[in-house]
Symmetry: C3
Subunit: 263 residues, 3 copies
């Protein structure tokens, strides 16, 4: 009986002790969606992302921000974690709405991780367009986080679009209307290797290369930008992804996609 008692107590105790952890984990996975009653608030999403709008930006702030006078209404998409997912999401948003990308800024962030956060500003003549763009982008994030892989040692990111639009053009110099993708490895050493893997795997054009000392905000990433035939861009990315996951896995746990892979 004593043994049974001990067993029963152990069970109870472990349940209680593990509970906060389980709750913390659930909290982490569930995108929080709280509301605050402000008309400027559009929503939140994965990656500590927030979406906001201003119907009519104050003229002093407008000037201090260096915005084009054409746009009084702006949509604001900002995140602690993620730049690629947000830029590709914004790319879909400009395709779907009557807005323009007027600013993309990349803080060094990811909350202690190796990459960037983001600040993206949409310009619109009408606040409802700006709001719609932010809504579309927030919704796209679930997809664009699909090929982000992470473990404690670093992360890998792959983005692909069959037809690049103005956000990818502004941020990465992507040729508009063509298939375009990015390959990100962190720590940067992995990024160098999978950039090489990608370009060897398919006949693609290298549009750009970013590394800690240039083209990033001193993040610990190497990023390759590629364009070309749709099948080739995908093939290059898939090859890089396969190698990247293996390499990052040698540094820690098996890297898992943040949401569901789409490439």
């Amino acid at each position: 009986m004593k043994d049974q008692l001990i067993e029963k107590i152990m069970e109870e105790v472990m349940k209680k002790v593990d509970q906060p952890k389980a709750e913390a984990k659930a909290e982490e996975c569930k995108p929080q969606q709280k509301f605050c009653g402000l008309t400027e608030f559009v929503g939140t999403a994965i990656g500590d992302t927030i979406g906001l709008v201003i119907a009519n930006v104050d003229s002093q702030v407008h000037e201090a921000m260096g915005l084009d006078k054409k746009y009084r209404s702006i949509g604001i998409l900002g995140a602690r974690t993620g730049a690629g997912p947000h830029i590709f999401a914004a790319d879909e948003a400009v395709k779907a709405t009557n807005t323009e990308i007027i600013k993309i800024e990349l803080p060094r962030d990811t909350k202690g991780g190796a990459g960037h956060g983001s600040l993206i500003i949409f310009g619109a003549e009408d606040v409802s367009d700006a709001k719609r763009a932010v809504e579309v982008a927030l919704k796209e994030l679930d997809r664009t986080f699909g090929d982000v892989y992470a473990n404690d040692a670093g992360h890998l990111e792959f983005q692909y679009t069959a037809r690049a639009s103005y956000a990818c053009n502004k941020a990465f110099n992507a040729p508009i209307g063509k298939a375009f993708g990015i390959i990100v490895g962190a720590p940067a050493a992995i990024g160098v290797l999978i950039a090489d893997t990608a370009v060897k795997a398919a006949n693609v054009d290298v549009i750009g290369y970013a590394s800690p000392a240039g083209g990033t905000s001193f993040s610990n990433e190497v990023i390759l930008f590629i364009s070309g035939d749709s099948g080739a861009v995908r093939q290059a990315i898939i090859a890089a992804r396969e190698v990247g996951v293996k390499l990052l896995g040698t540094m820690g746990e098996e890297p898992k996609p943040v949401t569901v892979p789409y490439i």
Copy 2:
């Protein structure tokens, strides 16, 4: 009896299990004040801040640092977390002592957070003046951390002085002798919105605007610098604070002030 026994055991266990957490929390809140017997050591404060003095800087180091030859004695205030609180604290210190601000540098830090740390150097002809400036600044930090609000997703910071002095002038271009304030939001998206809120709420002058791509060290902040009539500056800040706390609250727990609000 068995149930009582289990209950009693559970109680004991939970007490023991929770103890390290409680201790960790207490440790976190209590500003550590250890001593080390070095005459150069002045003290420590909130935000992983340390205050030091050098009576007579070595000439090679003096030159490598690019200091003005006028000052052989320097006071050093440095922190992992916080730039605004330290600059406004240093502003009071230069008012109160016979010292000058000779350097303000802003690392990208906050220990995985979205903002800056700081390195501030006071110059003095006499080491006792340098020491006094550091002491005043360390003491002011309790107040200047009062309108810093934070949760896991980001932070907000508001600083106000009725009469800007040389530290605010050097760091932010604040007009000396006039009321001056700063409004900080992180992630940067929130900073954009509350900058707009502030300037719409009162008749103030925008002195400057900093964002991840300019004026910050790639931090995930937007910062607005405002000057003007004392009441107007306070009113602008209070309006921004109200909106900021609501917005940051949609991304996580309710943001709480680090110490006690003073604005």
Copy 3:
């Protein structure tokens, strides 16, 4: 008997509750060495470091990276945590192999800490040379992390070589063939003070000085580079280390060396 029972249960429970912590600690200390079957993979080491080689870099990537055409084979050494340890390890690697340092980049990293990560590229005409250089560097890291001291508030780093080679020259402008050392303090305030301590303690030449606003990637460090007579460089470092450990200790726990001190 009831008391004995309670005691026994408590013991069992605490064992079980503490187990994950003990495991986590062991995991942290043990350098992971996993393999992945790729010929490009060389190994991993302390500081979330990975070593890789590419036998024949793709020409498009080669050009995008801005590499010297002379080298088709590259060795890649990258880390989340540590720049000094990696550069001094690479310095030994170029001495020992037929390779050249072609790139050193310093991301702002250390996983939420105050310093840098690193990306170092070796060039070689033959892939076996590139691989050997990476192997030597990975092995040296155990030694070069010996005088890195850290606690929750910051870190100190001291590196010394009796005879600087091409990595130290490229990264720090060290005179080749002479004794050379670096003194790093984070938060930067501590770095300022121990730089002064070092130069006062021995007759050394100041080769350079880096701080958050210049020469670092906005890290919260001050770094002094010194050269001169071998005994003097060591003496300067030892003096700085003694003071640095005391100062960092006032901000948290007693700073401990990451591996085993060698200076």
